[in-house]
């Protein structure tokens, strides 16, 4: 073969090789997932995740920064120590099982999609999910840590809720945070998990936590309160929460008719004179109502408070200031 032809053939092969390499490279790139989009607000999630977004938007996580009770108790976040959990950086950035750190931006979005799902940019970014979806813009990545109790614990174990659960029989029964607070929609795993984060702001969930019983025995009025439905103490997490048992004579009405029987609460740190009276998982509290006029029927009511204080501590008005949970009438 003449050298010129050889050179021409070599050149042709070179061009073909380069073309093949380029085509192959392109084909290879086309098969790779696109880099995840960068998300700066959870509002950006709504376009693809409308149902989940709507659930979250109505949840207490979404209201973590704006809830009036939080604003009141934190003095409009003048107590800056509250910011850490009420506007946290992404949990996966600080580390699952570690304490969260506060963020500066979009605090008004509270505990948002990004806080729970955003994976660290240093590890490729994307969003933690239960399955991989490489072609989706947020690039969901199956991340088992997303559903572990430790994922919630950075905030919710600050008041030992996760420890309370861990020390109970609930983990052995296979019941975890998600079982109650993020159940599958309609009980169907294919429908995904409910993002309303049902808790004490949801009356049915709240009521399911405890059972109130009463009986007249041996001439005495006995009251029992059992933690039957919370896999942690009742109340839990927030020292700002309290549950109060009140009683009054059946048929009586008005603020003055109530008599305070017992308060269930973990006090604030400065309230060193108060004991912690939390009702732990599966525990039962037994009380006796005294000073009841002979032969009278009484009504015992369990109220729940999201702020521990009464407007007038000397004359609380539980029906107006608290949430009625359970009631029982005890008659001789």
């Amino acid at each position: 073969m003449p050298p010129s032809l050889l050179r021409s053939l070599a050149a042709l092969l070179g061009v073909l090789g380069l073309a093949a390499a380029l085509l192959g490279g392109c084909a290879g790139r086309a098969a790779e997932p696109a880099p995840p989009r960068s998300f700066t607000s959870s509002r950006q999630c709504r376009a693809c995740h409308e149902e989940v977004y709507a659930e979250w938007e109505a949840s207490q996580h979404a209201a973590a920064w704006t809830n009036p009770e939080v604003r009141f108790l934190s003095n409009d976040f003048a107590n800056q120590d509250c910011v850490d959990c009420h506007a946290p950086r992404p949990v996966f950035t600080t580390g699952v099982g570690r304490r969260v750190l506060p963020r500066e931006a979009r605090r008004v979005e509270g505990v948002d999609c990004i806080a729970c799902h955003q994976l660290p940019a240093s590890e490729g970014g994307g969003m933690a999910a239960t399955a991989d979806a490489p072609s989706a813009p947020c690039r969901p990545t199956a991340t088992p840590d997303l559903t572990r109790a430790e994922h919630c614990g950075g905030c919710h174990n600050q008041h030992k809720t996760v420890d309370q659960w861990r020390g109970s029989a609930w983990p052995e029964r296979g019941e975890d945070c998600l079982s109650c607070h993020m159940p599958f929609r309609d009980g169907d795993p294919s429908k995904g998990r409910d993002h309303r984060f049902l808790g004490s702001h949801h009356q049915a969930t709240l009521n399911a936590a405890v059972e109130l019983r009463g009986r007249f025995e041996g001439g005495r009025y006995h009251v029992e309160l059992e933690n039957v439905g919370a896999g942690h103490a009742f109340p839990t997490d927030e020292r700002s929460r309290a549950a109060d048992l009140f009683w009054r004579l059946s048929g009586s009405t008005g603020r003055e008719s109530w008599r305070h029987l017992y308060r269930i609460r973990d006090p604030y740190r400065h309230e060193t004179h108060l004991p912690s009276t939390l009702l732990h998982a599966d525990a039962t509290l037994t009380l006796e109502v005294e000073s009841v006029p002979e032969g009278a029927s009484i009504e015992v009511v369990l109220f729940y408070k999201r702020s521990p204080y009464w407007e007038d501590p000397a004359l609380p008005d539980p029906e107006r200031e608290a949430i009625r949970m359970h009631a029982v009438t005890i008659s001789p």
Binding site: P68, L101, A105, R107, V108
Partner: protein, 490 residues
Amino acid sequence: MILRPRTALTLASLLLSACGGGAEGAEPASPHASTPPSLAPFELRDTLAACPAPAEASDDDAEVDEAARAEAEGLAILVTSDAGMLQVARDDVARLGDDATAALVALARDGGRPDRERASALDLIDLASERGADGLLSLASDAEPGWMRARAAWRLAEDGPDRLLPALVLRLKYERDHETVVWLAVALARHGNLAGLDGLIAIAGNAQSPAQSSAQRELSALLARFGQESATDLWRAWRRPADERDFAPPARSPALRAALCGWVARLNEFQLRGVDDARFLLQRMDVAAVDVLGEALHDRDVYVRVHAAQCLQRMGRRAAGAGAELLAALGDPELAPHAAVALGQVDHGPAAEVLADLLHPDTAPGLRLACARALGYLSVLSPRRAAAVLSPLLDAEPAELAQAAAESLVRADPDAEEVALRLTVWLEDERVDPASSERALRDWLYARDAGDLLARWDALAPPGRAAEEPSATRARRAARAELVRAHLAR
């Protein structure tokens, strides 16, 4: 965080300036970047390892030599019957040493003893000894009833060592007995720490308080000592000192530094209970803590770094000495937003142009927002310069960035009426935090000396005893917005 080109440039210039400037022939660094950070960014080191170990707490219940106990009890009984023997008895206690001190602490705690005997035991504790000072601190912390804590705090106000300052500041968080609060404040003030001044002022003005007269007397003494006309002036001077060393004595003990280092180390605990305590006391300390916190900005642990920046931010002008370290901390991606906010609060003038540069769209959103917020607090920022750097953000996205720019503009310029008008819109916009604009507008009215208007604004404050209904909050904010609009329309 991925460094955007502009941000990387700014940080690189910071780094260069820290290393003594760029290569010969390179373009000169802009004047704002010429302030050299005192510590090289990106190089984190474990500052705490260099701190002396904190002293171990003494154990009140340690076994005590029986002879010393008997002698100490005898001295307490002697002083109870004859107060004139106090000094002689104290000399004896000093000679007997730690065992006698431990016995006296135990005696003071013993609720079964007569009150006068317990008081005598407390009075006999040798404050000059380490064990004695620790014993008095433990009594001031949790002895019952309240008068025991008050008396122990009163003893510490005599001549307690400065290493107890952090623990005494922390007691302010938990103490509810007024007399004890008064003497804690006095014990702190003795070392130039006025963290207890607000409590002292509140009690001095409370006719119902059994400690009112003590508080009034001690407050007058402090005003005379620090040469201030009124309690408010003294409080302002403490919060925003012209010189951050105004109140601090010239020298502090290594033991105080060790105690502070111990608290800084607690900033990385999981439970916020300890972290909150550390933040509470560190932010109420003075220059002694500023130095330690400035070093902690370079710690390996991100929790220590972030919370150290928060403490400096909350100290405000008292932490001005940490300005250079905070400026250097802008080079730490995890710390940068917190450092930026802190630079504003400590009013570090040299940061102004660095923060202005970081307002560029390529800066990470959290840092950009923090810079916009911080600029409003820098006293060196003239209204004209503020308008030049912040006005372009007034229509920016996200909305909270525009809001932050508007808030900083009104803080920088009492005459920024058009911007104030914009801020009234944020009062009713739930995409942002309206409470933030409420604070900025309130500060703006105060800076304008808008007496009557300010009074009407304050009359629309939320009720104090319970959470406000959202509809009531909206109505209240709308009324405040209308007040400002009506004022500006005139």
